[in-house]
């Protein structure tokens, strides 16, 4: 099929192709990095020297930003991204980044407790900006639901806790955070359940639910139930390796979800008619919304 035919056929919702794996990497790495900064701030109360985890978190955020920089059409104009703080969540995300790196660097260089907390809170704000960035995209029905933003935040928090637990490989004291991980996974599961229900309730392009249905069972069992059980078991039995496994599973599942959300489930709105027009002697017909899982009411 040639390109012009494809464009002429854009009646149906189509999978968006403008944001690819590089954009997904920004949400995956940025969310995990932001979540890890918050988790490290919490864990810093334990008295461990977790500065290497802050470095990893900053590297993740940096990798995400670098990936998205590779994707933009005019990378040498990238600083223009700062011009619309009034309404653009992409601008706000970009504005958070330097403060996040500065506070993270202060935490690493000077071990200031306040710097850990500021970096942690900015990490949370960074994740929130990413969530709102997706939510503002009215052209993608899977993203514009409020529960999608909730899902991004819940995923970032769970990924952060997951990476913190993975740190139990080096810092055995982090094993007890398996309980926190289990709690955040429970939160993510509830958000996932609510997100899917709200999509089915409001109606979405058929391809969106197909993409989510394709991951649902494995996402729930391997990404939530198993790591939650492992996390609690690790904390109760004091087994760091179980905490590491739980953390890796939770973080990988979060990345998998975000890749699916950005690259697989993101279908465009498509077009709809509330009813079909009258022609000549004919009468108006029923409405139609091609490619959706519901028929628009007339």
């Amino acid at each position: 099929m040639n390109e012009s035919r494809k464009i002429g056929d854009r009646t149906l919702p189509r999978q968006q192709r403008n944001w690819d794996a590089r954009a997904a990497a920004n949400f995956i790495c940025g969310g995990a990095g932001g979540g890890l900064l918050l988790a490290v701030a919490l864990a810093s109360l334990h008295g461990e020297d977790l500065r290497p985890l802050v470095v990893i978190a900053l590297a993740l955020v940096g990798m995400g930003l670098f990936a998205v920089w590779l994707e933009i059409g005019r990378p040498w104009r990238a600083l223009n991204v700062y011009l619309n703080a009034k309404t653009s969540w992409m601008t706000r995300e970009a504005m958070m980044a330097p403060f996040l790196f500065a506070s993270g660097a202060a935490a690493v260089l000077f071990s200031l407790p306040a710097a850990f907390w500021i970096a942690g809170l900015l990490g949370l704000v960074y994740v929130y900006c990413q969530a709102r960035m997706l939510h503002a995209n009215k052209g993608i029905p899977a993203w514009r639901h409020a529960s999608c933003a909730g899902m991004i935040v819940a995923t970032g928090l769970a990924e952060g806790a997951g990476l913190l637990c993975a740190g139990a490989l080096v810092w055995r004291g982090l094993t007890s955070f398996g309980v926190l991980l289990a709690a955040l996974l429970a939160l993510r599961f509830l958000t996932w359940w609510k997100y899917q229900a709200s999509l089915r309730d409001a109606g979405v392009p058929i391809g969106t639910m197909k993409a989510f249905d394709a991951i649902d069972v494995r996402f729930v069992w391997l990404g939530h139930v198993l790591p939650a059980v492992l996390g609690v078991a690790a904390a109760l039995a004091g087994l760091p390796l179980l905490a590491v496994l739980a953390g890796v599973l939770a973080a990988a599942a979060g990345g998998w979800f975000k890749y699916t959300l950005v690259c697989r489930a993101a279908f465009t709105q498509g077009f709809a008619l509330p009813w079909t027009p009258t022609r000549g002697e004919g009468k108006a017909g029923p409405g139609v919304q091609p490619g959706w899982d519901r028929v628009r009411p007339v």
Binding site: R74, N80, T87, M90, A136, I140, T276, P277
Partner: protein, 217 residues
């Protein structure tokens, strides 16, 4: 009250000839694969109760444009007369506006493309490097509308200052004018017909009206 330019498309009249598509490509020199305006062919029903509707679509020049809100560079702007524009010098090609648009109206081309591989003389003459790697879309032929301010002509009435697609429509399905003027051609037409705007429920307040039937009895 300031002007708000809008388009009304009578779906009872559209025959799906794609002349507006061709006129837009000719007027705006869009490359192959990029159609700022196109006519969709929607089939509905099951045999023997089947209908086809031709639906011309493009940028809806929304009064509350989501593309403008998400744009991180302020490249997407809204003029006082309602036209939504893109400043190619500011745009970084992040595609956020493409995701925000519920009308699939925007596109980005990263490399030059020509109809037959090699550039023809006409394509070379009209090639605009500013349009590479930035978002592009229907402009409502804003140069023509701007000309109206100079000549005193009326967009939607005088062809020189009316969008190319509207001028080209062979069935008289497309209309253009100031919807804030209650006596304009388009306001009169809309007052006499039943119409809708695409995806109004999303709160974008689009400036393109689709006429489906005559006035209610």
């Amino acid at each position: 009250m300031s002007k708000r330019y809008a388009m009304a498309i009578d779906l009872r009249r559209c025959v799906g000839c794609q002349t507006c598509t061709a006129a837009c490509k000719s007027a705006n020199a869009t490359p192959p694969g990029v159609q700022w305006r196109r006519v969709l062919d929607i089939e509905n029903g099951k045999f023997p109760e089947v209908s086809r509707t031709f639906l011309p679509v493009a940028c809806m020049h929304c009064a509350d444009p989501p593309c403008m809100h998400v744009c991180p560079t302020t490249a997407t702007k809204q003029r006082e007369d309602g036209l939504v524009t893109i400043d190619y010098d500011l745009c970084i090609g992040c595609s956020n506006c493409i995701m925000a648009c519920p009308y699939d109206a925007r596109s980005i081309e990263y490399t030059p493309r020509y109809a037959y591989g090699e550039a023809m003389q006409s394509e070379t003459a009209r090639f605009d490097p500013e349009r590479l790697s930035v978002a592009t879309k229907c402009t409502f032929c804003k140069e023509r509308i701007d000309l109206a301010a100079v000549t005193g002509q009326t967009p939607g009435i005088d062809p020189e200052v009316t969008p190319a697609c509207v001028n080209s429509c062979i069935s008289g399905a497309m209309h253009f004018g100031d919807v804030n003027d209650p006596h304009s051609n388009i306001s009169t037409l809309l007052a006499d017909t039943q119409h809708f705007r695409m995806h109004e429920e999303l709160g974008t307040d689009p400036s393109v009206y689709y006429i489906l039937d005559g006035a209610k009895a």
